[in-house]
Symmetry: C2
Subunit: 328 residues, 2 copies
């Protein structure tokens, strides 16, 4: 019997979950839930219903895990606790500072409903967090580094689009190679914001806009750009569409640490992701953790969990025997 | 109250465990057990007893976790099941093909004694295995690659030392950079043994030995060198001692995979270790899993586990709240 998955919210992430389910033969898509008019939403999978979010409760016994694909700003803080009472749920809540509060809310709801809720699943938070934890546990004396990119930052792209005279824009966050190399060489550098990442912007101007003024405004924008070395390229709408319509991302988690009686030996642990599609990779992680949620719930577990609380074997469709003989 | 650790076997690995315990403030070394005459073994930690292995049973209630630091060929297959009946144990059993059998033996013993045994802990098997599992669960359609090095292979160094005319030798396994790059570029190459690693040997000759003959014998040695591009350098005993007395190692686990409805997007997951001291890093992993064994046992769990079965949070001295607020 395959695991019946519901998708709540059908944007880039929801579509990514739909694609990922197709790659996992022990899972099936049961239904997609949307705030839009269901008849206006065309999904990729044949024969699967699109329903109104308000009707989700009717699916309580027909869905094993609901994957919540909304945004962290307003959707998930409300949706995850709400649906954790009736479904096992997974979300990709990524507002780091608000995770403790979100955890508490989801935990209370999931325990009340006897369900499992796994929050903050994806790559950061998610796989990057796991790598920080493992590396810190193994090398207690050391230094952590996280670099992001090369990848598109939606927040920074949006910020540029709000500048007067800008028609469209795409921003790439790029890790500084020499800083990465210094970390890899065990130099334990103290890196400023500016030394870790550069920002590259591709901007389409409105007709008649003042390029110099737009560039100045972007480069001096507080929080977003003023602390970075920023490059601005003005390109045509066609070029933006043709060369910059993807959503690549990725990054590096490194920990450099010492061992030995006199701390005489250095070690480097590096985890790297290079992703053509940020939302599809995040979705793939969500789906693997949906399997874990299903299994934990089958064992009678309830409450809120994070990637830290899930034994790796729960993510795989293979049995313990298979894993030990093929992957250990 | 700190976790009381016993070390069984005091070679490079045992000494590494001793050093690692010093870096973890929630742990203390209780005793070291050796097959040698205890009075002949000098350990680094002040005031800790060195005991005979045969007396270990007397420590049953004074040690929370026994870390077994023997070899995989003959020590661990016998020791781990034996001691799992009276202690929570951790080992670094690394004979991949015999893991299922070892697991079964340790599982039976640990269950009989109501203890936890965690086997095959280290980096390969260990952290590399974990990364293979996570990456496969996230990207079900893809290809795995493991590269080792640059590092010292004890087995290959020993094989060279058995060649007539060789006084001493050190062998480095080196990953082929162009093969690594092809994987990173998503080319999904099919790589032969020769294309993945090269072997570099530093050899000290016996007086009067025939260098050309030794070199030929090394390069054509079946299983060890004949399938690789091998370089042989003849150096003096002093140079070997000065420049090649370390035990560095490391390597790369990569998975390249596809997502998307038509598999249109590529992703790369890469995990890398660069280690000055292979045994000290392995020891550091063992110690982190000792914490997990202690906690699992405190919860009443018993039986054999591997790194696949342990939720990451069990490895850290931090609480769930601390982990969520600082590392997620």
């Amino acid at each position: 019997m395959s695991i019946r998955i519901g998708i709540l919210g059908y944007g880039n992430l929801g579509r990514g979950v739909e694609c990922a389910i197709r790659q996992n033969s022990d899972m099936q898509l049961a239904a997609v839930f949307t705030r839009r008019a269901p008849e206006s939403v065309k999904i990729l999978t044949e024969g699967v219903p699109v329903c109104r979010i308000d009707d989700a409760a009717e699916w309580k016994d027909k869905i094993d895990v609901m994957i919540l694909c909304g945004g962290s700003a307003t959707d998930l803080p409300e949706q995850t606790p709400k649906f954790a009472e009736m479904f096992n749920v997974i979300d990709s809540f990524d507002t780091h500072a608000r995770i403790p509060e979100h955890f508490a809310n989801v935990d209370a709801a999931a325990k009340k409903g006897g369900r499992v809720g796994i929050i903050s699943v994806g790559w950061d938070p998610g796989m990057f967090s796991l790598n920080r934890l493992y590396a810190n546990a193994i090398l207690p004396e050391g230094k952590d580094y996280t670099f992001w990119g090369k990848g598109v930052s939606q927040g920074h792209s949006d910020a540029i689009r709000r500048v007067e005279g800008v028609k469209d824009a795409k921003q790439y966050t790029i890790p500084v190679e020499s800083a990465l190399d210094a970390v890899r060489n065990g130099e334990n550098p103290e890196l400023t914001t500016r030394e870790k990442h550069t920002r590259e912007c591709f901007v389409v101007l409105e007709e008649g806009a003042d390029a110099a003024k737009v560039e100045e405004e972007i480069k001096t924008m507080p929080n977003y750009f003023s602390d970075y070395d920023t490059t601005v390229h003005f390109i045509s709408e066609e070029e933006l569409k043709e060369k910059h319509s993807g959503i690549p991302h990725g990054g590096f988690v490194l920990r450099s640490g010492k061992t030995g009686w006199e701390k005489e030996n250095s070690h480097l642990i590096e985890y790297r992701l290079k992703l053509d599609s940020n939302p599809e990779f995040t979705s793939s992680v969500l789906v693997a953790y949906a399997r874990a949620a299903f299994r934990l719930a089958s064992e009678g577990v309830s409450g809120c969990k994070t990637v830290f609380d899930i034994a790796p074997a729960y993510l795989s469709a293979k049995s313990g025997e298979e894993l030990r003989s093929s992957m250990l």
